[in-house]
């Protein structure tokens, strides 16, 4: 077995792991799905490469060789597609994307006719026994790959520019390992030309790249895939070790002991199985340890808590932004009670002997002070995050209280409010968190209607006995291509947005066992529908 085949074997396990993790995860975001497809193609390529390296007979070798070129025809396009999806540019570059896929199909057809290689000129190039020489058509193949990959890098680099820290840093890391991986992969092409006798040294770079992707997925949750990765990685490594043990046994036995035992494969299999059974648990512990200490540098638990900590920090930031808007609205709210208090205290020195005035004074000033107190309390409530506390509640109260908080904002922005609150059953909910949900949605609606409009808030009871809260505005609407990303953390189109508002909304609704959906049309408005289970 040549070393290069082994490297490709490892790569195929790693890329298979990534593809599986991505497809097992429920996330169906275009960027995640396209990266999954890309990982799967890398798996096919490396696996066929691995099989090709193992062959000792020419015809079989050529079959695997031809097979391995099929995924290669599409890899760069899957990667380009991913880069577009990741940077929300699919619709902008739709034509380039279609053209690229079309070229890939043509490449695959040419490959089926063995058009890229001169099969009459096959050399033994260490460590491969049968290495074909390029035909003139291969330059087309390489050309289209290089153009599309460079284009992808360009698009990813552009999207880094508009990303904020700390995500900028992660994206940079991601792009760097991407460039390393692709540069490594590209060295495979050189060996097909006699004039550039550089052996394919690049595939270990692909290993490095795949490990890097694992690391970023795990540590920074770049595809929103949480802790599935740890197990997958461990089992991928275990499978690798087990395969190695198994192969070693078979090979060693067949080479050394065949002469003693005759045909001894069965004994070899049994012995291999026994060894694997004995070694399985220590091996697993060894790999977990290795991963935690050597690869990640920290215990996995510590890493994930680091991640969670950062998310909490950002959530706080977002919450404080909402609080700031509320506070400016409330500054106005405070003015009414303040006016009353001020006027009455102004008259106090002249009228403190007038019993009628004194009775009015207590009647008016007391409640006004309480109003200010309650406003301040409500504001504080928003600035402190707290764990979910469910209670029976009427959603109308929560909606009305949140709308009341924003009444100043509605006036300021010339927004008409329409409420439709028919009789509905109660739900189990966390009042504070739901207030935050509605606050975020209302603030978004206000921002979507800079020149005024109508905000409609209605509730209804569905046939499935669910409670539907509908919040719709007549604002600028959300571009179609942004809709799939709307609830993604850190997705934002606002200059100073953290991209967490709607992600928090989504998270809270999910915790309540509810669902949230959005419909939007450009310049017509946006409608959020939230479904809650009733009691």
């Amino acid at each position: 077995m040549n070393y290069y085949a082994i490297i490709n074997g490892i790569n195929s396990l790693l890329s298979f792991g990534i593809a599986v993790v991505i497809f097992l995860n429920k996330s169906r975001k275009p960027a995640t799905v396209t990266f999954g497809l890309f990982a799967f193609l890398v798996f096919l390529w490396t696996f066929f490469y691995f099989m090709w390296g193992l062959q000792t007979e020419l015809p079989k070798s050529l079959v695997w060789f031809q097979l391995l070129e099929y995924p290669v025809c599409f890899i760069h396009m899957a990667y380009f597609h991913f880069a577009l999806a990741f940077s929300n540019n699919v619709s902008k570059y739709k034509k380039s994307l279609l053209l690229g896929y079309l070229i890939s199909v043509v490449l695959a057809v040419i490959n089926s006719q063995n058009g890229f290689f001169d099969l009459t000129y096959i050399r033994n190039r260490t460590p491969f026994l049968y290495w074909p020489h390029a035909s003139p058509l291969l330059s087309l193949f390489i050309g289209s790959e290089v153009i599309y990959v460079a284009f992808s890098f360009f698009i990813l680099a552009q999207s880094i520019k508009t990303t904020k820290e700390p995500f900028k840093h992660r994206l940079k890391q991601f792009l760097t390992i991407n460039i390393i991986g692709w540069t490594g992969g590209v060295t495979n092409w050189f060996y097909f030309y006699d004039s550039t006798p550089i052996p394919p040294i690049g595939n270990p770079a692909v290993t490095f790249y795949l490990l890097g992707v694992f690391y970023l997925i795990y540590k920074h949750d770049i595809f929103d895939i949480k802790f599935v990765i740890q197990k997958t990685f461990i089992y991928a490594m275990l499978t690798l070790f087990i395969t190695l043990i198994y192969t070693t046994f078979i090979v060693v036995f067949e080479r050394l002991f065949q002469s003693f035992f005759g045909y001894s494969s069965i004994i070899a299999v049994i012995l291999a199985a026994l060894t694997i059974a004995i070694l399985f648990n220590p091996l697993k512990e060894f790999i977990v340890n290795l991963l935690e200490r050597r690869f990640f540098g920290k215990k996995l638990i510590e890493l994930s808590s680091e991640n969670i900590q950062m998310k909490i920090e950002l959530q706080k930031q977002d919450q404080m932004k909402a609080v700031a808007t509320l506070a400016s609205g409330m500054a106005h709210e405070v003015k009414n009670p303040l006016t009353a208090i001020k006027t009455f205290t102004e008259h106090l020195p002249q009228k403190f002997n007038d019993p009628e005035f004194i009775s009015k004074f207590t009647q008016v000033v007391g409640p006004e002070v309480e109003k200010i107190d309650s406003l301040v309390k409500q504001l504080l409530e928003f600035s402190k995050p707290s764990p979910l506390q469910l209670e029976k509640l009427n959603i109308h109260h929560v909606l009305s209280e949140t709308l009341e908080l924003l009444s100043g904002e509605f006036i300021k922005h010339n927004i008409k409010l329409q409420k439709s609150f028919p009789d509905i059953p109660e739900i189990n909910g966390d009042k504070k968190q739901l207030k935050q949900v509605f606050l975020n949605l209302f603030l978004n609606s206000i921002q979507a209607m800079p020149n005024g409009g109508t905000l409609t808030v209605s509730t209804s009871f569905t046939r499935k006995r669910e409670l539907l809260v509908s919040i719709s505005d007549t604002g600028i609407g959300i571009p179609k291509e942004n809709l799939p990303h709307l609830f993604d953390p850190f997705f934002t189109t606002k200059q100073d947005g953290t991209g967490l508002g709607l992600a928090i909304v989504h998270g809270i609704i999910k915790e309540h066992g509810g669902k949230i959906e959005v419909q939007s049309a450009a310049n017509q408005g946006t409608c959020f529908n939230i479904l809650f289970k009733t009691i």
Binding site: H332, L338, T339, F344, H347, K360, Q363, V364, I411
Partner: protein
């Protein structure tokens, strides 16, 4: 409330009890006051009655103060209206004056400010 025919009559439109009481305290000795809580009540009253001036809040339930101002100005173009609001901004002040308001006073106000503004519009 009995009306003293020697005193000018002011219509005050504000949804906040504390504010209405404050107006009573500041203006009650010098003027006859008619107090209403929202635009619907104000417009109803104005169909049958013409005060000498009006004090109007902006943020109120049912009808937005600015909308009330426009309708009043259609109904009684000569009635002086003073806007008294906590939601002050240059734009809103400009819009109020454009729609025919005579003055624009931010909350919290000084008693003297109100007294002066009312006596000015009544001149």
């Amino acid at each position: 409330m009995s009306l003293d025919s020697n005193k000018p009559t002011l219509l005050i439109c504000d949804d906040e009890e504390g504010i209405r009481e404050s107006f009573k305290l500041v203006l009650g000795d010098l003027y006859n006051l008619r107090l209403v809580r929202n635009g619907v009540e104000a417009l109803d009253l104005l169909k049958t009655f013409t005060p000498d001036a009006m004090l109007l809040d902006i943020k109120m339930p049912k009808i937005h103060g600015m909308e009330i101002l426009k309708q009043i100005k259609k109904l009684k173009p000569r009635l002086p209206v003073i806007i008294v609001t906590g939601y002050q901004s240059v734009e809103m002040a400009q819009e109020a004056l454009k729609n025919g308001a005579s003055d624009y006073i931010p909350k919290p106000f000084e008693s003297q400010q109100i007294l002066k503004a009312v006596s000015d519009v009544l001149k």
